[in-house]
Amino acid sequence: MNDDSGLDPDTAERMLRGEPTGPPRLARLLTAASAPPQTGPAEGERAALAAYRAARLGRRARRGRRIPALLSLKAILIGLALLLTGGVAVAATAHHLAAPPRDRRPHRTRTADTSTTSLTRDTPRRSVHPTARRPAPRPAHPAPPRPRPTPHQKNKTHPINTPKGKAKGNPHKGAPGA
């Protein structure tokens, strides 16, 4: 009955924090409730430790597994990239290759545009090519006619065109021209 008077909010708060204040019997009850355990290791300790160990091993295994996983992910990405770029390349070449009737005309017009000038220059040579210079002029030819239409393609055009391009290209172009 007298104890009631001691339990103002501040005292209550301090009791809740574990301070030994307030009504003695209530304080004793709270002390008893929060007393340290008298028993030894609890039954669940072994299970908890086993779970702890398993989790640690699991994490390690996962960390170990993550590297090959990343590698395989990389492999997949690289594969995809190759497929896509390969596909683009195929598509690009396919466009060029598959549309000779449509696409080559503009090409030709383009080449013609440039070659109109070049034709005027080429024609005298071509008129000469088919007739006499087929075997002999190979080394001399690539330099003068090629650089004009596509200067940046030089590198590519050289190896391809030196053997075939002139041998084939010259008679084709040369034939109508001539």
């Binding site: 339990l7 009850l29 409730a33 340290p36 779970a51």
Partner: protein
């Protein structure tokens, strides 16, 4: 990672309110290497001994808390909670106060799951009539309440309205501050304080009813 955010909140909250660890945690310490935060860090990094020490410090109190929620199934429920704690301690972020709040949150979730599963209300595990008699035989000169056992004290607290009992256990037994408790049970800190004070007053009346003061 559902707990990470919550843990951070709890850790921050407990920092704000009271920085000192609860007295029982300090009392359990035996040496300098048992600095609670260092212990927690070691346990997070895979030190099994550190985890065991934390378990021995926290488990008995967690068990008492769970007992107020689920009664006799408390051992099983608390063990389940520890499996969860053991699994996720490495990814826990926060200090020791935050950690104790986190363990209580996990234990509470397990307890509520258990109750939902069993579809029954929380029960007090000890008959209230036996409370004063649960004393050690050698206490002949002291009154029953002077030598009140932990079990009897908890049973007495369990006679309070459920929310008051839970709050008092979390604050006094688990050693959490009002804001952390508020986070755990999903109430405002002011409401938690009010409920706790009301619970203490009611508890006092219960004691006086059991053994009227002379």
């Amino acid at each position: 990672m559902p707990f990470r955010g919550k843990c951070r909140i709890i850790a921050r909250v407990s920092h704000a309110e009271e920085l000192h660890p609860p007295p029982w945690l300090a009392a359990d310490r035996t040496g300098a290497e048992h600095e609670p935060d260092a212990l927690l860090r070691a346990a997070r990094e895979g030190d099994e001994d550190a985890f065991r020490t934390l378990y021995r410090q926290i488990h008995p109190r967690l068990l008492r808390y769970v007992r107020t929620l689920v009664g006799d199934d408390a051992e099983d429920v608390t063990s389940e909670a520890w499996l969860h704690i053991a699994r996720d301690i490495a990814i826990f972020e926060g200090d020791i106060n935050g950690f104790r709040g986190w363990t209580a949150t996990i234990a509470r979730h397990r307890a509520l799951d258990h109750l939902r599963h069993r579809k029954r209300r929380p029960v007090a595990h000890t008959p209230v009539d036996e409370l004063p008699e649960q004393t050690a035989p050698e206490d002949t000169e002291t009154t029953a309440l002077n030598s009140l056992s932990t079990e009897a004290a908890l049973a007495l607290i369990a006679r309070l309205p459920h929310d008051q009992a839970e709050i008092i256990i979390l604050r006094v037994v688990v050693g959490l501050d009002a804001k952390t408790v508020a986070k755990i049970i999903g109430k405002r800190p002011g409401a938690v304080r009010t409920a706790a004070h009301r619970g203490l007053r009611r508890l006092e009346h219960l004691i006086n009813d059991l053994e009227p003061p002379r």
